[in-house]
């Protein structure tokens, strides 16, 4: 199963946050299933139409996902998926 790793910034909202393995075939699947482990987490990552939030990045390995609208990028058994906070704000 792909492993999902998180930016430290999300620990503020999920103090017990740690990497998780999630059975999924797409990034969208992963984000949806995160809610089962960490309630409401999908709302931190995507908007209500399923698009990646403007200041959030998701990587598969070292590559930023291509589909930020529906998160249809495929993930495979041994992928590492990183949910990161963009460097922005002030």
């Amino acid at each position: 199963m792909p492993v999902v790793k998180f930016t430290y910034a999300l620990k503020r909202f999920y103090p017990g946050l740690k990497e998780v393995n999630i059975k999924a075939s797409t990034v969208a699947d992963i984000v949806k299933k995160l809610d089962d482990i960490y309630p409401r987490m999908s709302s931190y990552i995507i908007d209500e139409q399923g698009a990646l939030r403007k200041h959030v990045n998701i990587f598969i390995g070292n590559s930023i996902i291509e589909d930020k609208i529906s998160l249809a990028d495929k993930v495979s058994e041994h992928d590492e998926v990183y949910i990161m906070q963009a460097l922005s704000g002030g």
């Binding site: 908007d47 139409q49 200041h55």
Partner: protein
């Protein structure tokens, strides 16, 4: 008259700041959500539930409640637009901003309304466990073509008024669309903008497309309504059937964002004017509050205790409040000023807060 509320919730760009009144003074009493913008914070009238609307830059708009006066906060689901909701044809609707929260609708502590950008009014009857979009307003035939953003990208509902004697009778103020009224709890809405002026439209008298920066009703006689509008200050004495321009001719009481009403006298109000829309600065770099005691026929400047040079403060639409004779306002440059005598004299509570979005006595 003495002050009746003893807590002040200040929504800032870097969190919620709390002041409490002691026997002699208002004192800093802590913060919540450090570093997270709080667009609006308020409490139920019995002070048992506090609400905080967040505009988190990275993670989206969030909504929190506290049942122990801010000691602990719980996140509840923020309003969500449905999959097929569109701002305009082909442009999906997503929650952009939580503008205002009206607690205790229908006398029910669990019943709240939230006004949002991009123009949706949401209702929850279970303390935020879930919100429903008020379809009657969202589906108003004027919305897709005639509502638009003012200051932000899309239209926003920043003002909500519920008739204290008939809870199905409500108003909203929308930038930019105008004032809308419902008599059936939100199914049917009518624009109520006669007498307003939108100098930024080809037809300034257009029934839709007006820009009320803030809409308020007198707490005792709610037919007396006021608005600080983009194009001046307006007042209605018949429940928004007609608006009169009460801006100060050749004076400073014209453009601004906030307007606050006396709790008893329906002819008394305060505004904090600014240089008009193309600059948005303190007038002559001096901070001035204007007060009328005659329903807007005349305005007086109140400046005692306020900076009169090198000042760049303006006050946003939810940045002023009143309890008894005590007025408070917070500014875009992080100053809080308080007056215990209806604005005759002002003292500063703090010069070093972040940008202030809202202040509410609770």
């Amino acid at each position: 008259m003495s002050s009746t509320k003893n807590t002040l919730l200040i929504g800032t760009r870097k969190g919620l700041v709390i002041y409490k009144k002691t026997s002699s003074d208002w004192k800093y009493a802590g913060e919540s959500f450090d570093g997270i913008p709080v667009s609006y914070a308020t409490a139920s009238p019995d002070n048992k539930i506090w609400w905080a609307c967040q505009d988190h830059g990275h993670w989206g708009c969030k909504l929190h409640i506290s049942r122990d006066q801010g000691a602990n906060w719980e996140e509840v689901d923020a309003p969500k637009y449905a999959e097929d909701d569109e701002i305009r044809d082909g442009l999906p609707a997503t929650l952009k901003y939580l503008w205002v929260l009206q607690p205790h609708v229908n006398g029910d502590a669990d019943h709240v309304l939230i006004g949002t950008e991009p123009g949706g009014l949401f209702e929850s009857k279970n303390t935020g466990k879930n919100f429903e979009l008020v379809r009657g307003l969202w589906d108003h035939p004027s919305r897709k073509e005639q509502w638009f953003g003012g200051g932000r990208d899309y239209a926003g509902i920043h003002s909500i008024i519920v008739d204290k004697d008939n809870h199905d009778h409500r108003y909203v103020g929308i930038s930019c669309a105008g004032v809308f009224e419902t008599w059936d709890g939100g199914q049917q809405w009518e624009p109520k903008n006669k007498g307003l002026r939108a100098d930024f439209l080809p037809d300034p008298a257009s029934e839709v497309g007006q820009d009320p920066h803030l809409l308020v009703a007198h707490p005792i006689n709610q037919k007396v309504m006021w608005q600080q509008n983009h194009c001046g200050i307006f007042r209605s004495i018949d429940g928004a059937n007609h608006w009169d321009d009460i801006s100060e001719p050749n004076g400073v009481a014209n453009f601004g964002f906030v307007i606050t009403l006396d709790e008893k006298d329906e002819n008394t109000a305060w505004v904090v004017p600014a240089v008009s829309d193309e600059k948005r600065l303190a007038i002559d770099r001096a901070l001035v509050v204007c007060r009328t005691r005659d329903g807007g026929k005349s305005w007086e400047k109140l400046t005692n205790g306020l900076p009169q040079k090198a000042c760049y403060d303006i006050v946003y639409r939810h940045g002023m409040d009143i309890t008894g004779d005590t007025l408070v306002f917070g500014t875009t440059t992080g100053n809080i000023y308080l007056s215990d005598n209806q604005g005759d004299n002002w003292t500063s509570l703090n010069h070093n807060l972040p940008m202030i979005y809202s202040v509410r006595f609770i």
